[in-house]
């Protein structure tokens, strides 16, 4: 099926891996792969594609073995739908990104490396993916990994694709490891500023309490939420020690049921951009939370933009939102990124208004491994068709409109 959208870019929605492969083999020019389209603005802005390949019809369950706790799905399967299905068997894919409610797909989540608060306990999709089918831009279909949890045969193609942002090929199928849904959960909240939240996160990590999630948001003047899950006795049994660690019974509130879900929904808001906002995520050592926050407020002050922070201090992942004039936002993002890189971290620029693009280098300076990245890219996508521009200056790409050499 071919759809043509307003700017006359062809859009295809293949129904099978073979169809997808034929499609890529039979065309040339820049490609863009799209799941639910929730993260098309992440990292660099790709050049205008000749063809958009949507995974919406590659969305079936290929194999589900509840007793083996594995599932294989088409990459276009929305996470939300998958969780519904798995929930019937008391299982889930242990991933809770804030874009789930917007329809984010499994393939898109793997390609972008998005995650949520419970990454602390279960890891990222990188840790949960066990197999993949990849379609390269020349139509080569390659499988990597397998269908069993434990497997070290061959190179780990599934994990290589984590965070690849559609630059190596089309993720067409994904095999995942599952977890049992915990029987009980409870969340302790305490009102603290971000630097204190950073301290508490380190103390939680040093304790044997094994929190499932530790999130801080700019909510009610600064709210730290700590989730515990497991068996009812296990959750109950942590209450007193956790309460004490978090500052004594006075300040700590325990939330369960709808009240608990509301807290987590409010905190998830901090990781989504509002209209016209620019959003970037920094990763650092967990102990750098206060430094990241401080660097952000200084960058905001110097450029005269409004910023907000939402942090997962135990993971060292921090989402910053910027609002203001494009040039000022560009300056603030650049300044903040410089500070984060200087402390050994990394920054991924996410959503932003188009006007901000001209004001900021979307990917920042290349890492020492950029030579390997280029060489790998050259081997897997020799004509540079996959989302050219997505990794900015890190990968070579022609300027928009430039003739493509396919010699």
């Amino acid at each position: 099926m071919t759809l043509v959208n307003s700017t006359s870019v062809a859009v295809e929605r293949p129904e099978s891996v073979t169809e997808a492969a034929d499609l890529l083999r039979g065309t040339d020019g820049p490609l863009l792969f799209r799941g639910a389209g929730t993260k098309q603005a992440w990292a660099g802005r790709p050049v205008e594609p000749a063809l958009v390949v949507e995974t919406g019809r590659l969305s079936s369950v290929l194999a589900y073995n509840p007793a083996d706790m594995t599932v294989a799905v088409g990459a276009g399967m929305p996470l939300r739908d998958l969780q519904d299905l798995l929930g019937e068997k008391g299982q889930w894919l242990a991933l809770d990104p804030s874009t789930e409610s917007a329809g984010a797909t499994v393939g898109g989540l793997l390609g972008t490396g998005d995650s949520g608060p419970r990454r602390l306990r279960y890891g990222a999709l990188r840790d949960l993916v066990i197999g993949v089918t990849l379609v390269l831009s020349d139509g080569t279909v390659a499988r990597g990994g397998g269908t069993v949890i434990k497997n070290v045969a061959g190179y780990d193609l599934p994990k290589l694709l984590y965070g690849s942002l559609g630059t190596l090929g089309l993720v067409a199928e994904v095999v995942l490891r599952l977890h049992p849904r915990p029987a009980a959960t409870a969340t302790a909240t305490v009102q603290v500023p971000v630097d204190e939240a950073g301290e508490l996160a380190l103390r939680l990590a040093a304790s044997p309490l094994e929190p499932a999630a530790v999130d801080w948001g700019d909510v009610d003047g600064g709210l730290l939420a700590v989730r515990f899950e497991g068996t009812p006795a296990g959750v109950e049994g942590r209450r007193s020690a956790a309460g004490e660690l978090l500052g004594g019974a006075a300040g700590v509130e325990w939330r369960t049921g709808a009240d608990e879900e509301t807290v987590w929904q409010r905190l998830a808001e901090g990781h989504r951009p509002e209209e016209e906002e620019t959003l970037a995520v920094a990763g650092t050592l967990p102990g750098r939370t206060a430094d990241v926050a401080w660097a952000l407020s200084e960058a905001a002050e110097a450029s005269g933009v409004r910023t907000a922070l939402a942090s997962r201090p135990a993971l060292g992942l921090h989402t910053a939102r910027f609002a203001g004039a494009p040039a000022a936002v560009g300056a603030a993002v650049t300044a903040w990124r410089e500070r984060v890189l200087a402390m050994g971290g990394s920054v991924l620029l996410r959503d932003r208004p188009a006007a901000v693009d001209a004001e900021v280098d979307a990917v920042g300076p290349p890492p020492s491994s950029v030579g390997l990245l280029r060489s790998l890219h050259r081997r897997l996508d020799p004509h540079g068709r996959c989302a050219p521009g997505r990794l900015g200056s890190w990968l070579p790409h022609p300027a928009p409109g430039e003739d493509r050499d396919r010699s």
């Binding site: 069993v148 070290v152 390997l372 790998l376």
Partner: protein, 502 residues
Amino acid sequence: MTTYTEEYRELVAETPRGAVTAAFREEVAAVVSPGGLISEPAQLHTYECDGLTGYRVTPALVVLPATTEEVAAVVRLCARHRIPFVARGAGTGLSGGALPVADGIVIGLARMRKMLSVDVDNQRAVVQPGVTNAGISAAVGGHDLYFAPDPSSQIVCTIGGNVAENSGGAHCLKYGFTTNHVLALTFVTPDGDVVTLGGDSTDQLGPDLRAVVLGSEGTLGIVTEITVRLLRRPEAVRTLVADFPDAEQAGNAVSDLVAAGIVPAAVEMLDELAIEACEKAVQAGYTLGSPAALVVELDGVEAEVEEEFERVQEICRRNASTHIRIAGDPVERAKVWKGRKAAFAAMGRISPDYFVQDGVIPRTKLGSTLTRIREMSDAAGLRVANVFHAGDGNLHPLVLYDAAVPGQAEQAEHLATAIVELCVEQGGSITGEHGVGSDKACSMVKMFGPDDLTVMARIRAAFDPQGLCNPGKVLPTPRLCGERPGPYRPHPLESAGIIERL
């Protein structure tokens, strides 16, 4: 269908190589610190094989660099003179991954065994590749921290080898493999460049290059520094050994544990022969004559572990467990694990020779696969002992034989290969933790099609266009493996006299 694409053949074709001359030796000697060169024939023999002792090749030279810069300098010389090189840790690998290349050199990381730093607050440590797996946990134990991957060889094997093999251990069902516990690598590319993969942040921008190096069995470059994630020691640990009337019922108990939503830290199974061998070797208190035993360990928060431990016992009893032994204290627990971890070596007590096999099946096929293995073992007239990570379906059948009986070694090897191919038929894998190495390169075609292999060969060529970095491992060489996926044939290198089987 052909086994290999034309492109694959070109990618893995051997390129012209240089020779290790006296001049080359001198150049190498000039870039490594004193004591870093081994060229005495008697000493070179020490490096001729890894834990897979059946394959042996004497390297032309062994180099023991002391720093990342020295490794890079040696690799640059290899690249310039087109000399193949093989990285080596402790040499405990069981798939011939560290098997030297004739006319190539071995780069041993044994002299690089410093713990460079420990960051208690951020729960990580930076270590050199020659540090032993157990050495890491020992160094940070005082802070209630440990390194989770726990291969049975942990006292000896190195973290560099663990990274290369993506090693697992008994506790990887709950905690994952080496790849889940490595945050950053300092990496010497086959050109001799030094780069960092990964970093302080859990995520880097772009494809995860660190992930593809993990488990690449030394074929993409040499790892010279590793930042590992450390975990807080769990508050409580509870361990039991449950005996069962047969393996099928033990397998059912495991299924019931999983169905109950319990994720044990470890679930290990031993069969009667394995129990006999372990008891002879270390007297760990397993019940002699029991057809099957499960070791189940739970860890985590005290209240939770207590609650689930009760349920585990209930489930074992429901599945006809004949005896449950609870490890009452750390000493008793250590004894249980000593028995399990000694299992491979213990085979020497009940058989003059044995092959250690490593394959994976979907856990739910445990019962039927064990039955098939028994039938195959009967048909071959060879005993097979089974020790395995039952939670994730990772089997370690041990094929027992006597090399003094003519033909029996070959027969045993055929049986071991047939077992692993059975695993693939069941939807599993040719290796769960020991790696492909040189041993199973030819079996890769059982699991991966021509295009899958081509893409792997492209990845390898991206890192190592000259094909000098641990060549002949992981990816099948059409010339040596034959054209068609089929039953195992003797390794042609063997017939060619390049490697000898002992």
